[in-house]
Point group: C2
Chain length 248, copies 2
């Protein structure tokens, strides 16, 4: 049985304000929880229903795992159909990305607003082995439950940095690629070992202040029927192209 | 001022049951509505607020355009933030895809459930110029308002066919590619001029009955950190690869 204060804490974490205050966030579903447990993230609490409880309670942190009823889980879950387990982990301190040690093409997100898009970009980055994603301060928060859900556990492996993009990009001499409506053909691009690739927001693209910093404008060639691609789709197509380049 | 019966008709179209009965579906937003008007879709009615009304009422179908208040639009819109105009178009009769005239790689979706995924696949197909998408009968309905919204107007250009995939694929001698966890490297694939590429559902992949029909299993190579890619991401990466091949 969950106490009122437990319910109140978890429910507060549905909101950004309280995630920021408590430095805690929610992960749901056995598979994702196991991936976070297997990472450097610090566990706070797990609530699991009887079917899933034994799979989580036999681990070293068993004093942090509580069995709850289906009804209790419905009360605290963000999902319409809760997945049998909800965990709370600590939000790590935001670390600025250090461009001096950059050893790969690194994606930079300028103002992405849709949680599903950010989550999908993190999941795709993990698939292709990109270790870092840099976000502008006005990009949707990576610990938003919808982002966490869309990453399918990949947030436990890809490091997310929030910081001023102008300051970062101006401080580095690495090549700066940016996806624009008019640029060089993505499919004919030769990629450096390390550099930045900037993707703009859903509505507004790359912000004015970053445009002069781009050294390599690129475009995904299309028929011109439709105005734009979804940003998570653009990111994935770029990631695949960089991956092909690495494999060559 | 909207009548009760007008409100009741539009609201009924939020539900699949009534879309099927009435053969009508909803498109919201000026840009998407203009794209549908510029296609073979048949207009039923447009409701627009005063700011957008003049942009739609001066067209040849002006007797079908009604000015409404913001409050009226909120009552009938599926969006949290209505975009100033809502149109109703006729759902065209479903036509089975005819493989005899196939002149391009054609995507086949086996049980996609998420409206955002189907909408994004249609939008990406339009970007790269794919003209048809074939869906299994248990794939989410293309006229679901969330699908229509995610296509950003592209549904007006890409033809969607619902039919038995087993019957279709067995009737054609064209190559049948399928994305599987173990297959040939997508990035080393040589594409034929025409053929099918099958993508499975979010939870279950390609269904058992289709597996023996696949002649060319393919895989998007990754690090193996994460179990799978989002299906709209997989589709986009495949579409980009086919597009590169065509451009060569």
């Amino acid at each position: 049985m969950l106490s009122k204060s437990q319910i109140s804490l978890v429910k507060s974490l549905h909101q950004k304000k309280y995630r920021k205050e408590e430095h805690l966030f929610i992960v749901e579903g056995l598979k994702s929880i196991l991936e976070f447990l297997n990472s450097s993230y610090v566990l706070h609490t797990i609530y699991a229903t009887s079917g899933i409880f034994p799979k989580l309670a036999n681990l070293s942190h068993k004093q942090k795992v509580f069995e709850v009823t289906d009804n209790d889980l419905i009360k605290i879950s963000i999902l319409k159909q809760p997945q049998g387990a909800l965990a709370i982990f600590e939000i790590p301190k935001n670390e600025s990305f250090n461009p001096e040690n950059m050893d790969e093409m690194t994606f930079v997100l300028d103002g992405i607003q849709d949680p599903g898009n950010l989550g999908t970009i993190i999941r795709t980055a993990d698939w292709f082995g990109f270790k870092h994603i840099i976000c502008s301060e006005n990009t949707v928060e990576a610990y938003n439950p919808k982002v966490v859900q869309a990453t399918m556990g990949s947030l436990s492996r890809v490091k997310i940095h929030y910081q001023s993009l102008v300051d970062l990009l101006k401080s580095s001499s690495a090549p700066k690629f940016g996806t624009l409506l008019e640029g060089n053909n993505l499919f004919e691009t030769t990629w450096p070992k390390a550099g930045f690739l900037i993707l703009g927001s859903e509505g507004n693209g790359i912000s004015e202040e970053l445009l002069p910093i781009i050294t390599h404008p690129i475009t995904i060639p299309g028929t011109g029927n439709t105005e734009s691609l979804n940003v998570a789709i653009s990111a994935a197509i770029c990631m695949a192209q960089i991956q092909i380049n690495i494999l060559k």
